[in-house]
Amino acid sequence: MDSQVNKLAFNDGWQYAPAPESTDHIQIDEKYDLFIGGDFVAPDEGRYFETINPATEEVLSSVALATDADVDRAVKAARKAYGGWSKMKAKERGKYVFRIARMLQERAREFATIESLDGGKPIRESRDIDIPLAAAHFFYYAGWADKLEYAFPGRNVQSLGVAAQIIPWNFPLLMAAWKIAPALACGNTVVLKSAETTPLTALKLAELIQDAGIPAGVVNIITGAGETGAAMVNHPDVNKVAFTGSTSVGRIIQKSLAGTNKKYTLELGGKAANLIFADAAIDQAVEGIVNGIFFNQGHVCCAGSRLLVQESVADEVIQKLRDRMDTLIVGDPLDKNTDIGAINSMEQLETIRSYLKIGEEEGASMYQSSGDVPDRGYWCRPTIFTGVSQSNRIVQEEIFGPVLAIQTFRTLEEGLEKANNTPYGLSGGVWTDKGAKIFKVTQAMRAGVIWANTFNKFDPASPFGGYKESGVGREGGLHGLDAYVKVAS
């Protein structure tokens, strides 16, 4: 086959020397309390839990387990701060948020290193994507603070009150920024809970917010588990709930908010289709597939976890994809050569493994990359399944790991039919050199974010969020303001 003759040899002859990011410039305390009312305070019941480095299984720190009483304390602190914060001159409020952005830029490398240690993502991603985007997000929304009337023509804009925000473990600091920045710019105060397995950068952000002189109680950051999040959602003095996580939890939240007047935004799961047409630039498309599903170990709600490739180029695309997968370096997240870091937790690794088993039981054929993985820590080789059908669980369900299900299609209509045949609708991708076809496909895809001849791009100015069961509301851009204001005529 031609593609084998022309196989690109990325890793023959030369080996990459290790290039680890140093950790001597970072400071992680042995124990973290809850950031409430501008101070770090001990949790009500005095309980703490450990957070580990998923690449080494070593304990990094202990963080407080917030109880209902702690949530209540945090909401009270946020409520107390709300009056002053919402009435502050908008331009001054904006300047505070700008300050967070600037200080985050100054300390970017420290945050990136801690993000990779605590969550397992490659330093290249935390350094080049997560942290710069988080800072950019604060910078973007800071500027909105005194311009909100331009975002809602003909309407009167008001802040909501106290926002309860619950974030996931896949982009810990970035998700904190997505939640906190627009909330503050619009004049709300917040109680944010970081994910159980990745609390550290949010706690470092709490320190930064303290350093930045943000008025006490405007931002409260707590740590805990699912019960802590439930207490936040159900707290009667909360005006807004923002959640990013699984569709199953999102559904529970939507139900528990029924009958209340709390506003909510939900950023939930996805099972994005990435459509490769025969007229696409195939080598670029292969890079797009790799970025779509293996970025951040596939722990991405908008990951391109379904590849739909036009039949006439399927063999070529799959062969090139396998070749490319074999060059991906799975290993130390702190090494700048690493492409794929550690799976975030043992629990998630078990979930992924259960889906690999399901895929094989469903009769699909599995291919995993051939490279080595470290002995300790949680790892999953890049994996693809071929010979899958639309009804297979590995096609329908979100795996949240580096696992790609590959299907083929003949006509554009068939490709679209398969792409849209899912309860999710978060994102999608299309690869073709024909401009008119791009517009046809991107219009017909029922999803909130579509990448044409690219994938997994993010920007604070770009609204993000899903159709159908992928969630309610948008984060980012002008459209993301809506989540944090009430508009009246």
Binding site: A258, I450, A461, V472, G477, L478
Partner: protein
Amino acid sequence: MSIAEAAARLPVDKTYKIYIGGKFPRTESGRYFALEDQKGRVIANICRGSRKDFRNAIVAARSASPGWSAATAYLRGQILYRIAEMLEGRHEQFVTELVLQGVARRKAKHEVNATVDRLIYYAGWSDKYQQIFSSVNPVSSSHFNFSVLEPTGVVSVLAPDDSSLLGLVSNIAPAIVGGNTCVVLASESRPLCAVSFAEVLHASDVPAGVVNILTGFREELTTQFASHMDVNAVVFCDGDADIAKLIQIEAANNMKRVISRVDTRWSEDSAQSPYLIRDTQETKTTWHPIGG
């Protein structure tokens, strides 16, 4: 009535039916409820729509969705304008029906006028709301990035009970002008205008299935309107906190968009705005690389 009077001419009563997929069937259940005027005389036997009718209506609405959402904004605007024209022409009929259902004649006239005007208002928005709510997003990479609104899909509407024509149309118009299709439950206490409005729709080039109108018992059908898995958004206008809670819980099964329009004063200008169109729209953001 004297024999002499009766012999003059017997008026022909109208059979009020439901409207599904561009057709006027009776409810599949064969059930009815008697609508009485204020003196207790039967005005009409109204179809007591069933859950099966609702499911049929959703099938019709879903089938109509691809075509209607792809119709040009200009065409949708013209069709809404056409609905207004047809309603204007049948002004007296709607006034009579409102009066029959207990609305004072003066108020009834005003309501029909306001309904025509509301249709014109939304007809005019058809090719403008997109420009108000869309954006080109200045991303910090070499991409052309823009966000546009797209219809959320199939919308179920529990129309307001007290404003049986204006309230009905004030909820249908913003949904369909934005390319959605809908299934509407008419006012339970004043259902006549909804059925007659279906006839107006039918004469206005509105494609079959774009608007489907049922009559029946609110209490019986609310759960179904909120829970059906092929509905993308549910709009409700009446009810206490318990009803709102029920709707929201049922809607969560497929993450429906839940739109509450409780306490809206339908006769006022504040009851119309492009934000009502946006209620049943999704924002889609597309990234295109810039390069050779």
